[in-house]
């Protein structure tokens, strides 16, 4: 069984992002970029399925500029067998991403597609659902446990206030919650080995028509700052302050 894992290159989670000077976009120039953390969980799950003998091949894919090769090398170092970059300099929104992935699925015929439950830049949480819809496959979003046997998957999903278990026949699309696993730490030998693994480039245009309705970004703002806080000296002062705010009886 082949697993295709979709990864996204995003601003590192420790960076505090700001709007560009004209307030029309997010400043990403000179900012540290990393693999989207949730995609790392998806990749870790795929690699573990391979180590467990359930999967035979893990293919990591990314869509975007040539710079995405760094996150793909990271994926190869984590244990992906090969990587594929769909290259474009234009921004790609979710529905178009799903269409690109569909084209790759038709080319690569994986039995399972995995991705993070959301990307920490747009926080949209849409890709897995859109892709499984286009493929007419089952979807398991926000997965925190995956068991695969005899061509069927049993997945525990994180839902509001608890969790649920669903089961379905493969092929399918699964999106990973952070709870799914702890991504491995990459050691130097793995990084060296990753340099030798195949990384293929495809031009976006070569995948056929992937046009999709897209949103226009009009403005990016910082949320209104909260009014300056007060440091108090003791619990009595805190109780008095909170009673004055009428948030305590």
């Amino acid at each position: 069984m082949k697993i295709l894992v979709n990864i996204k290159r995003v601003v590192d989670y420790q960076v505090t992002v700001r709007p560009t000077a004209d307030g029309k976009d997010v400043e990403t120039a000179g900012v540290k970029m990393s693999i989207n953390p949730f995609d790392e969980n998806a990749l870790e799950a795929a690699v573990r399925l391979k180590e467990a003998g359930v999967a035979t091949e893990v293919l990591a894919v990314a869509i975007g500029a040539a710079a995405n090769q760094d996150v793909l090398r990271h994926a190869l170092a984590m244990g992906a067998d090969r990587a594929l970059l769909v290259e474009t300099d234009a921004p790609v929104q979710t529905l178009q991403t799903a269409k690109v992935l569909k084209a790759l699925v038709e080319r690569e015929a994986p039995q399972l597609v995995m991705t993070g439950k959301q990307a920490i830049d747009d926080d949209a949480a849409e890709t897995a659902q859109m892709l499984s819809a286009l493929l007419d496959w089952p979807q398991a979003t926000f997965a925190s446990d995956i068991q695969i046997a005899d061509g069927r998957a049993t997945v525990v999903r994180e839902i509001d206030g608890g969790q649920e278990t669903i089961s379905f026949a493969l092929p399918a699309v699964i999106s990973a919650d952070l709870r799914l696993n702890e991504p491995r730490f990459i050691k130097l030998p793995a990084l060296m080995m990753a340099k030798k693994k195949p990384l293929e480039n495809i031009a976006l245009a070569d995948l056929g028509n992937t046009a999709a309705p897209s949103l226009t970004l009009q403005a990016v703002n910082e949320p209104p700052a909260r009014k300056a806080g007060r440091v108090l000296n003791n619990v009595a002062e805190l109780v008095a302050a909170l009673r004055a705010e009428k948030v305590l009886p």
Binding site: T16, V17, R18, V26, T94, L95, A98, Q118, I120, D121, D122, D123, A124, A125, E126, T127, Q129, M130, S132, A133, L134, P138, Q139, T141, F142, R157, E158, I159, D160, G161, G162, Q163, E164, T165, I166, S167, F168, L178, A212, P213, S214, L215, T216, Q218, A219, V220, N221, P223, R226, G229, L232, N234, V235, L238, V239, A241, L242, E245, V247, L248
Partner: protein, 312 residues
């Protein structure tokens, strides 16, 4: 054209988050219809009739809709949506699971987790864990949106008189088998909607200390308990207590963070709280930048003192 709101149903009936979606839909200035898809809906439909702001309720009562399985609900949405300008659901795990699936099949614009409706096609939504807000415009034509329920006050349960129309079900897609659902049972208020939330970080040290320290105060305050990801990851608190970008976004009247550093991913989930209190031994902890009131102190002293003070 009218707006279609997708109802989310739990064991208590229509969720409050759906009433927030109805209120948000009301802002478009069009008629608002509610899609009620589930099984055994007679009682729920009768109650929904009086929700303020609805003109029609479409009832699709069938076994295949019982557990909110997206693969079964999507064909129904795909059938109904083209008669509407906008489809709205709350950005709960249910709404987030369902709407993008339908949007893809409809080849329609999808705007997730909207916090402000600027105009019929212009919306504000948080990005980067709520550190920034993006204003986005969807192209003309059908748009599907999920709204963040904590920022839209729920439509009242009374005052309306919607017409009820039964509609045909679309059948079982045969893709997914629902196995089970385990919901945490607690006599405390639900985290997402609680008026008071107290939360703990990694510094609580152990599961026993986490529960032993925070529960008496939560009981005293009638509060829900939240946790940081670090606390959840180290097994001190269950996953569904996690507050933040990845966890639950909350907007209580009072939020008290005990031993929480205030990472962006945590703070993203509490920005709409009315009053934020931080208790942390480190005066430079970032949490103090968003707190209205701060105590630079050891939580293991403050929590019992506060619990005792409130007994008077």
């Amino acid at each position: 054209m009218s707006i279609l709101v997708i109802a989310e149903i739990d064991s208590h009936g229509i969720k409050a988050a759906t009433r927030s979606a109805i209120a948000a839909a009301g802002q478009f200035g069009e008629e608002v219809h509610l899609l009620l898809a589930g099984s055994d809906l007679a009682g729920i439909a009768a109650k929904a009739k009086s929700i303020n702001g609805l003109s029609k309720i479409l009832v699709a009562d069938a076994a295949e809709y019982a557990h909110g399985v997206a693969e079964n609900l999507t064909p129904l949405l795909v059938k109904l949506a083209p008669s509407y300008s906008t489809v709205v659901a709350a950005a709960t795990s249910f709404g987030k699971n369902l709407l993008p699936r339908a949007a893809a099949l409809l080849d329609a614009a999808m705007v997730s987790e909207v916090t402000k409706i600027v105009s019929a096609r212009t919306f504000v939504r948080p990005i980067y864990a709520g550190n920034l807000n993006a204003t986005v415009e969807a192209p003309a034509g059908l748009a599907l949106i999920t709204i963040r329920p904590t920022v839209f006050e729920a439509a009242a349960e009374t005052g309306g008189d919607a017409a009820i129309e039964n509609i045909a079900a679309t059948g079982d897609a045969g893709k997914t088998t629902f196995v089970s659902r385990e919901l945490a049972v607690s006599d405390r208020p639900e985290l997402a909607t609680a008026k008071v939330v107290i939360s703990g970080g990694r510094s609580l040290g152990s599961k026993e200390a986490f529960h032993g320290t925070l529960e008496p105060l939560a009981a005293q305050l009638g509060a829900a308990i939240g946790a940081t990801r670090a606390a959840v990851d180290s097994g001190m608190a269950p996953n569904d207590w996690q507050v933040g970008q990845t966890g639950t976004v909350i907007a209580p009247d009072l939020y008290i963070a005990f031993g929480v550093s205030g990472a962006a991913q945590h703070v993203g989930g509490i920005k709409d709280a009315k009053v934020i209190v931080a208790v942390n031994t480190d005066p430079d902890a970032p949490i103090f930048q968003v707190a209205d009131y701060g105590l630079v102190a050891d939580l293991f002293n403050v929590v019992p003192e506060l619990t005792a003070a409130l007994q008077h």
